[in-house]
Amino acid sequence: MSSLGFPSDGVPIGDPNNSSTTAFEIPSKHNPPAFLQAAKDAGTPIKMEKGTTTLAFVYQGGIVVSVDSRATGGAYIFSQTVHKVLPITEHLVGTMAGGAADCQFWMNELRRRATLYELRNGERMSVAAASKLLANMLYGYKGMGLSIGTMISGWDNKGPSIFYVDTEGHRLKGELFSVGSGSTHAYGVLDTSYRFDMTKEEAIALGRRAIYHATYRDSGSGGLNNLYHITKDGWSFEGAVDVMEMHYKYEKEQYGESRAVKPEIEVA
């Protein structure tokens, strides 16, 4: 929409809400779906897997967001210390699953838009609004190869809520989500033990246990378990626990002392 010239039929000159949106100029012959299909037909499909486990659930005391910290490229582990919970504002966080770069970039953009919203309107952005903003931004690039599966979680004046947003165009409100290659393992643990009226300690323990089980069985997940807790006063970081430590702890609980021995290795 040109901002010069006379408006036709009362169309506003320039948009007061979008004074500076990030938008990429796409080359005219660019056609990612066709490219991906061609690769598939040639017998070398490009798999976009979300190698990670992230989860979030609502309970009586707020929201628990629990994630792993492994980044993989195929079978290669790039990092064991990735921050997969990205704060958007003091009361909103998003999780990272899919392309790490895509998540970081678009979360930053969402953070920018949410801060501008707060400044312009003098009130915090709701979880519904933030997730819708992200979903609409991503929809413009649908089919072009972005890979993001995020859970926007926060506490606004309607209470705690979680929205799952991905690059396919999904935007779903729910009380319990898990995203990533280890999500099925996490769902198993969560669905078994989740109760809305858990205490804070129980909820955090459940969040950690679910991630641990996913990291144990899924090669795409591992490293540390970072856990965030959200109340009406905002989010707080509840600590990072090495999943290996959790392994030995749970093994000891389940099988007794014998399996719980951590091999002591002498390093020359």
Partner: protein, 252 residues
Amino acid sequence: MSYDRAITVFSPDGHLFQVEYAQEAVKKGSTAVGVRGKNVVVLGVEKKAVAKLQEDRTVRKICQLDDHVLMAFAGLTADARVLIKQARVECQSHKLTVEDPVTLEYITRYIASLKQRYTQSNGRRPFGISCLITGFDYDKTPHLYQTDPSGTYHEWKANAIGRNAKTVREFLEKNYSPDNVATEELTVKLAIKALLEVVQSGGKNLEVAVMKEGSGLQMLDVSEIEKIVQVVEKEKEEEAASKKKESKAESK
């Protein structure tokens, strides 16, 4: 040298004449009054006499921008039509992107920004209207805002725009109090009383809209307005009579 040709030119003493002339156009429009009550908002407008053959219904000065937002204006009706159309779209667009109805402050700011943009671009003239925008936010609080052709906006407890607005505003300043707007009846009565200061008496010369929290726009019937007008007239007479008695007693 005349400085009222192009909108974008300041005069040497800092005036934007086109904006001031637009405000003059507003002063020629029929009066509108808005009163914010405790849990009700009221808009009243002077209904201009229509020509004999004209259909009464086609003159609408109070319009709904959304389920919970009302607007009355004074000035150029055609300009108002453009603004109302864009404001209505913005109300829905906001609902779509933010999943919440607009707050009164937001939609007033939108309309005011639109007006301001037309005071700062080539080849355009400002909108020749002032608006009274009122309604309820989703936290159930009532608000009343006023915008003018320059693009400024302020929140008011009660205000008037258009012809003789000053007289009406002075009346409201003297007579507005939290007690006077504690109920729906009192608020409506105050709005009508204020309008009657400058409008010829009679229910058919007034258009009154009422909005309560949670319910939509309710236009009062001519008969309902007539009833209130009669009560107001009676009270005025009684007051005048008692004042006469007092002055007689004093002069003796």
